[in-house]
């Protein structure tokens, strides 16, 4: 039973107020995209033991979507942040790096 801070309304929301939305920061591929890109967009998902970026909706609350950066093993929440972004903001990446030295975004070097 997680509790996540909704960055849209500022409420610390009980998991029963929230609806999960799967992996965050997917890039949409539409008409004209390759079969491989489209396949990955639809079906390929990360399943890490550790740092993960997720989409959540404060469904029984302000109704807004947000993103959460969280450790799937320890349930530590590094940050919750706006859903109107295509990748984690630097402040979020910094917050994770401070707690998980050596970790990098999408395995970039």
């Amino acid at each position: 039973m997680l509790i996540l801070h909704c960055p849209n309304c500022g409420v610390d929301a009980d998991e029963t107020e929230l609806a999960p939305g799967g992996q965050a920061h997917l890039k949409r591929f539409g008409p004209g995209s390759s079969d491989e890109d489209f396949h990955d967009y639809l079906f390929a998902r990360e399943n890490p033991r550790g740092v993960h970026f997720e989409r959540w909706r404060h469904a029984h609350g302000c109704g807004k979507w947000f993103h959460a950066a969280r450790d799937t093993a320890t349930l530590e929440v590094f940050a919750t942040y706006s859903a109107q972004t295509t990748e984690p903001p630097q402040a979020v990446l910094d917050a994770i790096a401070a707690r998980r030295p050596g970790w990098t975004w999408r395995h970039e070097s």
């Binding site: 039973m1 509790i3 996540l4 639809l42 979507w65 530590e76 929440v77």
Partner: protein, 1003 residues
């Protein structure tokens, strides 16, 4: 003899006698008794039969860890099985029944299992019942089901009520013993809000029984003063009879409050489930004494030494008159001393340690108690109660040195911290060699959202067993919790506890150490599940070296015990058998709840009328009063049909269809989703959401649209009305309103957040009535108001206006093929509008119709229904809806997916109409046969029925289905086997059965 004594009895009120019955026999106890103490006081030693061997069993413990004394309590609608007699508070009129025997507790036929026990070893059921295969279903399972199970399932509906309560606190303290109270005090001094839960009715835990002083005063005084101090603090809440049942992610915890179990006539809810969020949780859950594993350690009268002390001190009950104490530590001497000073004979203290104990041993010896060091119990004899004990050397194989007659045995194998709540959410344990127990590993706590440990063990639960250590540890735990919750702990010193210094214990996992196979087969590890030392050794011998596998193979520590009594002895036995060390073997997983909680508490208020929400339209009550036969659609209830006196469901549907096609019918369409989409980018947005073009729709017009997921599959359909340049009203299916609203918000918020569009869900703002049939216009004109002539409002147009005195928006759309107007009025006037239509329609023979008539009529017209023709794998192209898919648009949700090879495969089944050769109705969901069989030997298929009805209009069965190359095979006859054994023959036809040119809706 087990009797009440004159001394002690701190929890009972001898002035208040309480009557109860046990197996129908009237008995008496005192206010303050538990059921177990009252039974023992009445010399009722046998309290149940064991699960597997049906051996007579008595109480071995005095609290939540009791494995044997499980009973059925109450009667009828108040009956509940498997309640612990040791935690059941006595009240006037209590009725208890023992379990697991037939015909009676004293004589039980099932006890034959005990004599056959050597044929029922670990894994017996797995080994025995695997062959022959067919026997399982027809012979073994029915027989085992009959014999298995603990307690009786309640028959009636539960007469009690239950509820939840959400509670937020800075610090939650679980356990109201001296550790919990001191931790609460030090946490509360910081200003943090503190909630303290105690499972029993009394504060103070074991300390008042065990003795010792706190800051020079008795433990009882310390408890009383601390409780009073906490009660006076505005930031502290104390709850007894409330068990900390489980600890979960992010500081979530469950408290199980038993409100009326001890006072069933009090009224109000029986149990309350506390749903707690705490920043920090202190587990001051104490420790549980371990039994010793010796032969006959389950004979009634053999008891944990601490339990025997509890019965004496708390309830003035002596479970025997001539007692033998067996121990490997100093604490059991307290029991011997208490017995002796209460006038009970203590025949021997058998101390497994060759050098014995410390100061407590001296005290016992000074009282004249005989103490034999290096001695053990070889076996206990007796059936329904202890008769004698064979004394032997601990370092031997069990050869008896003497046989001593006695009527009770107190045993102590040392103490294990209650680590359950620490472990529930992932806290890890370390093995404490000196104290021979697992305790919480401070380096590996369960972690919260901030990455820090959020559970802090305190006192005995943290491995501190002496009073002073407990108080100091608890004081620090309270401060740590307050700090973790963001408060500054007050500067204060822990109270000073004083108790007698104790000598170290010596681990004893089997008594005597080299007990032979015969003795091992009678030495119980898990009373509740009837697991013995021999079972665990057998499991080890057969290769079950993992403790988790051994647990499941032998059932050690399963069910309600959750390892409370059996855990350490069991895994020590396993370690010994496989030649490993205890820390390497490790423990099994502790799962919540700590002790079982009622199903009612979990359900809370959600039962009866509020089991789940039922959504009601403004006309719901009218439907109810006029014969509605309900159909659940999402959380709505919609009339399936309106039954008249003596009419069958089928006849009612046929009547409603005929009347609507020939005269006029009314449908409550209020449940259809109505989503208002507004903004400069609304048209562009809807072009992405629908497969067809919506941005070109003119204000005042309507268009039918299809919505797909990114996977390309059809998810919803409905009519879109353009209100003005920037505003559209999108109708969804009844079940789709919330889902499609969320779908729109998701795309707007997470993908196209720079588009200027707002969405509002207006589904419930309007009551909507479909007025359908050749007389529909006449009916509305009778009410008067706006011009609804064909010239004023063409098919697929909408207008605002007034009908009679109602503000109305009228959509001229048709899902039946008839002349049809869907009229939306404010929900608060929905019922009045409906009644006005019924009144005005009387002369035209108006009738309401339900969802089934709606389905029949749409199928006659060949219209698809989401959920019938679609099932999450169907794309619009499969349904011949290519006309509703824009070729001009570059993109819409699902377009790319519909270009995937699987989606463009010409062999995808396509929608057609199906007409039985003999006019019968095809079975729903039936498959069309094809030649040959597949790899599994199943008949190949080439299509299936998606909708099928009796059409009163055509006087025959009609259907739609998805068929391989269907549209190219008009006139072909397919075979559909039904589950009724018949095979139906149906011809592929056009799916529009009625008014193919659409003349009727266009008048």
């Amino acid at each position: 003899m087990s009797t009440r004594i004159a001394a002690h009895g701190r929890l009972i009120d001898r002035a208040k006698s309480v009557g109860f019955t046990f197996n129908g026999k009237p008995m008496r106890g005192y206010a303050g008794d538990t059921l177990a103490s009252a039974l023992l006081a009445g010399d009722q030693m046998v309290m149940g039969r064991s699960y597997k061997y049906h051996r007579p069993r008595g109480a071995v413990a005095s609290g939540a860890e009791e494995p044997n004394a499980l009973m059925g309590l109450g009667e009828g609608a108040k009956f509940e099985p498997n309640q612990r007699a040791t935690t059941t508070e006595l009240f006037e009129g209590l009725t208890a029944r023992s379990q697991n025997h037939w015909p009676g507790l004293e004589f039980d036929v099932g006890a034959v299992n005990g004599r056959l026990s050597r044929f029922l070893p670990a894994g017996f059921y797995y080994k025995m019942f695997i062959h022959p295969r067919a026997f399982w279903k027809h012979v073994y399972e029915p027989v085992i089901r009959q014999a298995a199970g603990l307690g009786r399932v309640p028959g009636g509906r539960d007469a009690d009520t239950y509820e939840h309560f959400h509670c937020f606190t800075d610090v939650l303290v679980i356990g109201g013993g001296v550790a919990g109270l001191q931790a609460a005090r030090s946490a509360a001094a910081s200003g943090a809000s503190v909630l303290v839960l105690e499972q029993s009715a009394h504060w103070g835990g074991r300390a008042p029984v065990d003795g010792g002083t706190v800051d020079g005063a008795g433990a009882d005084d310390f408890v009383r003063e601390t409780v009073a101090e906490l009660e006076a603090m505005p930031n502290v809440t104390l709850r007894n009879r409330c068990m900390g049942a489980g600890v979960y992610d992010h500081g979530y915890a469950l408290g199980y409050e038993r409100l009326t179990d001890h006072a069933p006539r009090a009224g109000g809810p029986r149990h309350r489930l506390w749903r707690i969020r705490a920043r920090r949780i202190v587990t001051a859950t104490g420790a549980i004494e371990r039994p010793l594993a010796f032969a006959g350690n389950d004979v009634p009268g053999v008891m944990l030494a601490s339990a025997m002390r509890d019965y004496l001190v708390n309830w003035a009950v002596a479970p025997g008159r001539r007692v033998i104490v067996a121990t490997n530590n100093d604490d059991a001497y307290r029991t011997a001393i208490t017995l002796k000073t209460s006038g009970i004979d203590v025949l021997r203290i058998l101390d497994a340690r060759s050098s014995g104990g410390g100061a407590l041993m001296q005290e016992a010896r000074a009282l004249g108690i005989r103490i034999d060091c290096g001695r053990a119990i070889g076996r206990v004899s007796g059936g329904k109660r202890v008769r004698s004990v064979a004394v032997c050397a601990q370092e031997g194989t069990g050869g008896a040195l003497e046989e001593v007659e006695c009527d009770a045995v107190a045993m102590s194998g040392g103490w294990s911290p209650v680590v359950h709540l620490w472990s529930h959410c992932g806290g890890k344990l370390i093995w404490d060699e000196a104290r021979a127990h697992f305790r919480p590993d401070p380096e590996r706590p369960p972690r919260g959202a901030d990455g820090e440990g959020f559970v802090i063990p305190a006192g005995a639960a943290n491995g501190e067993l002496a009073l002073n250590g407990i108080l100091g540890d608890a004081d620090e735990a309270g401060k740590t919790a307050a700090r973790g919750a963001g408060f500054k702990p007050a500067r204060s010193k822990a109270p000073r506890g004083e108790t007698v210094e104790e000598a170290p214990l010596q681990p004893v996992w089997l008594m005597p150490r080299h007990a032979d196979a015969h003795l091992r087969a009678k030495a119980w590890l898990d009373y509740q599940n009837d697991v013995k030392v021999s079972d665990v050794r057998l499991a080890a011998q057969e290769g079950y070296h993992s403790v988790e596998h051994t647990k499941r193979y032998t059932t050690l520590g399963m069910a309600t015990d959750q390892g409370k009594l059996s855990n350490i002895n069991g895994l020590a036995t396993l370690a010994d058998a496989i030649g490993s060390e205890i820390p390497q073997v490790g423990t099994t997983t502790f799962r919540p709840p700590y002790t079982p909680i009622s199903m009612g508490a979990i359900a809370g208020e959600a039962r009866g009328a509020i089991f789940q929400p039922v959504r009601r339209t403004p006309m719901h009550g009218w439907h109810e009063a006029n014969g509605a036969d309900w159909e659940p659609v999402g959380q709505w209830r919609r009339p399936y049909t309106y039954l008249r006196d003596g009419e069958s469901q089928h006849d009612a549907v046929m009547r409603e269809v005929r009347n609507t096609r020939q005269a006029v019918g009314l449908l409550d369409a209020s449940t259809l989703g109505k989503l208002l989409v507004k903004g400069p980018d609304a048209g562009r947005f809807l072009d992405m959401l629908y497969t067809n073009m919506m941005s070109t729709l003119k204000p005042g017009k309507c268009r039918y649209g299809l919505m797909c997921s990114e996977n390309g599959f059809l998810i919803d359909d409905g009519v879109v009305a353009r209100i003005d340049e920037h505003t559209f009203l999108c109708h969804t299916t009844t079940g789709g309103a919330e889902r499609i609203h969320a779908h729109m918000e998701e795309w707007l918020q997470t993908e196209w957040w720079d588009w200027q569009v707002h969405v509002a869900n207006l589904t419930e703002q309007f009551a909507q009535v479909a007025v359908v049939g050749p007389d529909a216009r006449k009916l509305l004109e009778r009410l008067g108001g706006m011009d609804l002539s064909a010239g004023a409002m063409a098919f697929m147009e909408w207008r605002d206006g007034r009908i009679a005195e109602f503000d109305a928006r009228v959509y001229r759309i048709s899902f039946s093929g008839e002349l049809s107007f869907e009229v939306a009025v404010p929900a608060s006037q929905g019922l009045a509008f409906w009644e006005a239509l019924m009144d005005a329609g009387r002369e035209f023979g108006v009738m309401p119709y339900g969802t089934e008539a709606l389905h029949v009529m749409r199928a006659e017209k060949g219209f698809i229904m989401i959920g019938d023709e679609t099932d999450g794998t169907v794309i619009p192209q499969d349904l011949g809806l290519g006309w509703a898919i824009s070729k001009k648009k570059e993109d819409y949700l699902g377009k790319r997916a519909q270009a995937r090879p699987h989606m463009t495969d010409p062999t995808r089944w396509k929608l057609v109409g199906l007409e039985t050769v003999d006019g019968a109705v095809l079975p729903d969901g039936a498959y069309a046969l094809a030649e040959g069989v597949n790899a599994n030997g199943q008949r190949n298929v080439q299509g299936r029925v998606t909708s099928t009805y009796m059409s009163p209009t055509l006087g025959r069965g009609i259907a739609m289905g998805l068929v391989l190359n269907g549209p190219d095979r008009m006139g072909e006859v397919l075979e559909f086997p039904g589950t009724d054994g018949k095979t139906y023959q149906a011809r592929i036809v056009d799916q529009v059965f009625y008014d193919k040119d659409g003349e009727k809706q266009n008048v």
